[in-house]
């Protein structure tokens, strides 16, 4: 159903990357994981992804930077932000900058999956 959509996952917690990669690949997505923002942004310059899932706050690069890089890389990319605590102002800012959706930690893989499906439907519509 998902037709091997390309997903980029950026989060500085190693376990998050491992588990979500396992889970999402099981759902049929092609997942590239990055444990920090800088290499992710570099990759976005060269490749385009269907969906980008990124943590909002990381040590070296802001999730918002990744968001900007993703939009620049391809305007169709659906970007999902992972928030530590859902603060209204961050949500607003990301929304303005073009984020598709949010998911607040902690969450179950299912929940992210549901969001990805929604994004996928959005992509299909074109």
């Amino acid at each position: 159903m998902e037709e091997n959509l390309k997903v980029m996952l950026v989060d500085d917690e190693e376990i998050v990357c491992k588990r979500l990669k396992t889970a999402l690949e099981k759902y049929g997505y092609a997942v590239d994981v990055f444990q920090s923002g800088v290499p992710a942004i570099e990759r976005l310059k060269e490749e385009q992804y269907d969906i980008v899932v990124t943590d909002i706050r990381m040590d070296d690069a802001d999730g918002l930077d990744v968001l900007a890089a993703a939009r620049k890389s391809s305007p169709r990319t659906k970007i999902i932000m992972i928030t530590g605590y859902a603060t209204a102002e961050v949500a607003r800012e990301a929304q303005v900058k073009g984020a598709f959706a949010f998911i607040a930690k902690p969450f179950r893989p299912k929940e992210l999956h549901a969001l990805l499906e929604k994004a996928a439907r959005g992509l299909k519509k074109g």
Partner: protein, 524 residues
């Protein structure tokens, strides 16, 4: 411990009492009893009010002239009496003079004997008619002497044909001149007395005016000085209160006056201030803790998320998972749970309302714990925190919980002023002051100008916009450090940054001997 002021933090004020950190319910029973006792002592003194003094002063300034006036009037009345008598005495003298003149005529020419007699009799009449007056002025013996001479004189005049003419003449002359002399004497005497009295009425009021003038100056000076002394004392009190010392005003004199009422009112006001201050301190503490707690809660999100993701996958496993993957996941679950445990333990260590306890501290552990607790805040602000631990770190004299509060305050303050990519460096040295360990918290922020730096420890002083920050952090921190026998200093350079230095007394008590309060964390 030398009680010197720090050169780099001028205008040092007495710190708030350390008891404020212990009790959140309010001041202790002892404090209350002491304050009540102070008020009672102020009230229960004999009263000698300023109003009384003023009334006394004015009474004196009124009564003295009154007395002098009455005295003058009395003297003048006496003078009046004396003048009246002088008239009388003068008349008497004149009669005797006349008698003697006619006596002379008679002795020379044989005429005017009757005239002489007439005048002598007139004198005698005057003397008899005014016997009392004469007696009171010249005295009984003089009066008798005068009367004797006069009687003898008259008797001689009455002798028609004296046997011994010469003796008669000489006796006549003798009595005559004696009478005259006496009369003259007391007239002169009386006149001198009157002059003396008039002189007195001239001089005394003048002297009195001078005395009154001096007295007025003295009284006004003393009164003014007395009032100024009290005013100065109260200036001292208000300054003391302004610097955060809420101890009550206690009596310093043996009596009470209007200033006592002022003192009682001020004591009442200070009790209110103290109450509010404690509430503020408590809310400040809570706010600081709130920040810590929020940070820690945020920090907990990560291990929790890791656990949730991992456990979810294990749950959803339909049996197709590799055993090695399974084992890895189970291990991760345990590790993340441990991580959570450590985070919570760290917070509990400092958030617990435990008994403050002074002990030998290893600053390495304390700083490590604090920086770990604040890791999230530091990360969010994208600031770099560097701690330069030396090889050897002497044990210091301090209280774990309270010093934790101090360093939390210093680091949070630094975070507030630093832009992204700013740097905080914590370093140690023992050269700053003999017998002390200096812990420096330096930020690469904008620095402070001199006029701000000198006020930075003042209670309620803050450069943050309204509503953000009560300005209590540094004054409270300084109070804590001071109470522990140390010093909190600041140095700053505009454009370069600020360094807060906490000087803590080095102790000889090894840190592992005194028991630590609170659960110690399991590891690093």
């Amino acid at each position: 411990m030398p009680d010197k002021e720090s050169a780099s933090a001028p205008g040092y004020h007495a710190p708030p009492s350390i008891d404020a950190f212990r009790t959140s319910e309010g001041s202790s029973r002892q404090d209350e009893e002491f304050k009540d006792a102070a008020d009672r002592a102020l009230k229960e003194r004999p009263s000698f009010s300023i109003r009384t003094r003023l009334i006394l002063a004015f009474s004196i300034f009124f009564l003295l002239p009154l007395v002098i006036t009455l005295w003058s009037m009395h003297v003048l009345a006496n003078v009046n009496e004396k003048i009246l008598f002088l008239e009388l005495a003068d008349d008497y003298k004149v009669e005797i003079q006349q008698a003697r003149r006619f006596e002379k005529n008679y002795l020379l020419y044989g005429t005017n004997l009757d005239d002489a007699r007439e005048h002598a009799q007139a004198a005698q009449r005057l003397s008899m008619e005014n016997e009392e007056q004469f007696r009171s002025v010249v005295g009984e013996s003089s009066l008798r002497t005068m009367n004797e001479h006069l009687s003898a004189y008259l008797r001689l005049l009455d002798e028609a044909d004296p046997a011994d003419r010469d003796q008669w003449e000489s006796q006549l002359r003798e009595h005559g001149s004696a009478m005259f002399k006496l009369a003259q004497d007391f007239v002169i005497k009386e006149r001198n007395e009157v002059e003396g009295m008039l002189d007195l009425t001239r001089r005394v009021p003048f002297v009195f005016l001078v005395v009154l003038f001096v007295l007025m100056i003295l009284v006004v000076t003393f009164l003014a000085r007395h009032i100024m002394k009290s005013l100065n004392r109260f200036m001292g009190y208000t300054q003391r209160i302004g610097s955060g010392d809420f101890s009550p005003i206690t009596p310093t004199r043996g009596y009470r006056d209007e200033f006592t009422d002022l003192a009682l009112n001020i004591n009442r006001m200070v009790r209110e201030l103290d109450k509010h201050h404690r509430i503020l301190l408590e809310s400040h503490k809570l706010r600081a803790m709130g920040t810590l707690v929020a940070g820690v809660a945020h920090e907990l999100n990560n291990p929790m998320n890791n656990i949730l993701l991992t456990a979810s996958l294990l749950q959803e496993d339909d049996g197709s998972m590799e055993e090695s993957d399974r084992q890895e996941m189970l291990q991760d679950l345990v590790a993340q749970a441990e991580r959570t445990k450590r985070i919570v333990a760290n917070l509990l260590n400092f958030a617990r309302q435990s008994e403050t306890k002074v002990e030998g501290l290893d600053m390495r552990d304390l700083i490590k714990d604090i920086t770990r607790l604040l890791k999230n805040q530091i990360r969010i602000k994208k600031v770099r925190l560097r701690v330069a631990f030396p090889e050897e770190l002497p044990t210091v004299h301090g209280d774990r919980q309270l010093l934790g509060q101090v360093f939390t305050n210093l680091i949070l303050n630094a975070l507030d002023v630093l832009p992204e990519k700013g740097e905080i460096v914590i370093s140690f040295d023992t050269e700053h002051r003999e017998g002390f360990l200096a812990v420096n918290v330096a930020d690469s922020g904008p620095g402070m100008p001199g006029h701000i730096m000198s006020r930075v420890f003042d209670p309620f002083f803050t450069t943050k916009p309204k509503g953000k920050g009560t300005g209590l952090g540094l004054s409270v921190s300084r109070g804590i450090v001071r109470k522990l026998g140390g010093y909190l200093l600041v140095e700053s350079q505009l454009g370069i940054g600020t360094v807060f230095t906490v000087l803590l007394p080095i102790t000889t008590i090894p840190s592992d001997i005194s028991s630590r309060v609170g659960a110690s964390d399991g590891g690093n």
